[in-house]
Structures are given as structure tokens and as C-alpha cells.
Symmetry: C2
Subunit: 106 residues, 2 copies
């Protein structure tokens, strides 16, 4: 997983919206996804290219259409690397701050 590409891809609200749309209906075409995004087709296309580069979306050509599918694997890996790790020590991390705020020595 290229963490940089994945997080950068997720760092834009338009792209997160596109993912949500694909979640609602997987396998949409470029044209469908470019509708109602409030920007030119080419702009939305560029966002989808970034999602593809991050492997969050996989596109398949069928005739003159391009179908888009969510790839949930990178999100799973983000969870394993970035959330689970911090989750395990979640309460402990919060306690560090609490103790400092209360002036407790370590």
C-alpha cells in the first residue's frame, strides 16, 4: 500500500463524495459519476484518476464506457496500520494528556 497516495486521495472532499456515491451504487460509469459534482467533467475525471492511482477505485472499460468499482483493500490496510495501532492504546494515550493537565508527575 502506498500510504501517501491513499491519504492524499482521501484528503479531498470531492473524492470522498465520489467514493460514497460508488458505495451507494458500485460500477458506475464516468459520465454518471461526473454528474452533479458541481464541476467540469474533466475535473471530476482527474479526481477519479487519483482514486485509481491510490487503488481505492478500479476501472474497467466496456465498449466506450468506463465502469468504476470500489476497492476496499486500501481502506482495510489504512485501518490495520493507522487505526488499530492507536486504538489498542487509546485509553492510555488519553490518560497521558489527562495526567499532564492535572499536573501529575509521570
Amino acid at each position: 500500500m502506498d500510504a501517501d497516495k491513499v491519504f492524499k486521495a482521501l484528503s479531498d472532499s470531492t473524492r470522498r463524495m465520489l467514493l460514497d456515491r460508488l458505495y451507494e451504487q458500485n460500477g458506475q460509469t464516468l459520465g454518471q459519476l461526473c454528474q452533479d459534482v458541481g464541476m467540469a467533467r474533466q475535473s471530476a475525471t482527474q479526481h477519479l484518476e487519483i482514486l485509481e492511482a491510490a487503488n481505492l477505485v478500479t476501472a474497467v472499460r466496456r465498449g466506450r464506457e468506463k465502469l468504476h468499482f470500489i476497492n476496499p483493500v486500501p481502506l482495510h490496510e489504512v485501518y490495520e496500520r493507522w487505526v488499530q495501532k492507536f486504538e489498542r492504546r487509546r485509553l492510555g494515550l488519553l490518560l497521558d494528556l489527562k495526567n499532564e493537565l492535572e499536573g501529575d508527575p509521570k
Copy 2:
């Protein structure tokens, strides 16, 4: 949670490294965190400000020092909103693509 700020904060490798460092040792000072990042102190400071603005890090002043603590809450919320959701349908989403690749009609 401000998803935009959180994802943007996580989209830079320097900032992810800073989080990892804080995970190793919570409560470090600005000076400590600015060491060995391969950039000027002020640059690292700006990264920490972004992490603070995203609530991923909470800073506390103690005398002339500024101590930094991880706040695991935003990461937890990212998980709930962005990972868990896709995780539930993970296999189904992958199947959509597999079927399309194999030319199966829906």
C-alpha cells in the same frame, strides 16, 4: 470531526512520522519533535500546528516548553465513518468487480 482537516493532516508523510514518534513517546516537546525531521524547526512546527488543528495532537504549555500528546479520538472517528462502513460490505464490493471482470451480467 472535521474529516477534511483530519485527512489533510494525515496526507503528509512528515506529519504521519510525527504521529508515529509521539506514539513511541507521548508528551514530547516541540524541540524534541523538530529534531531529525530533515527540515527547519519552523517547518516542523507548521506541521504540528496542522496536526493540532485537526485535533490529532493536543499541545500543553509547561513553562517555556510545549508538550504534545496524541489524541486518538479523530482516528477512531475516521474508522467509524470511513473504514467500518466499507468493511461491512468488503467482500460484496470485491465481488462486484470480479463479476464485471468475468463478464457476468448482473
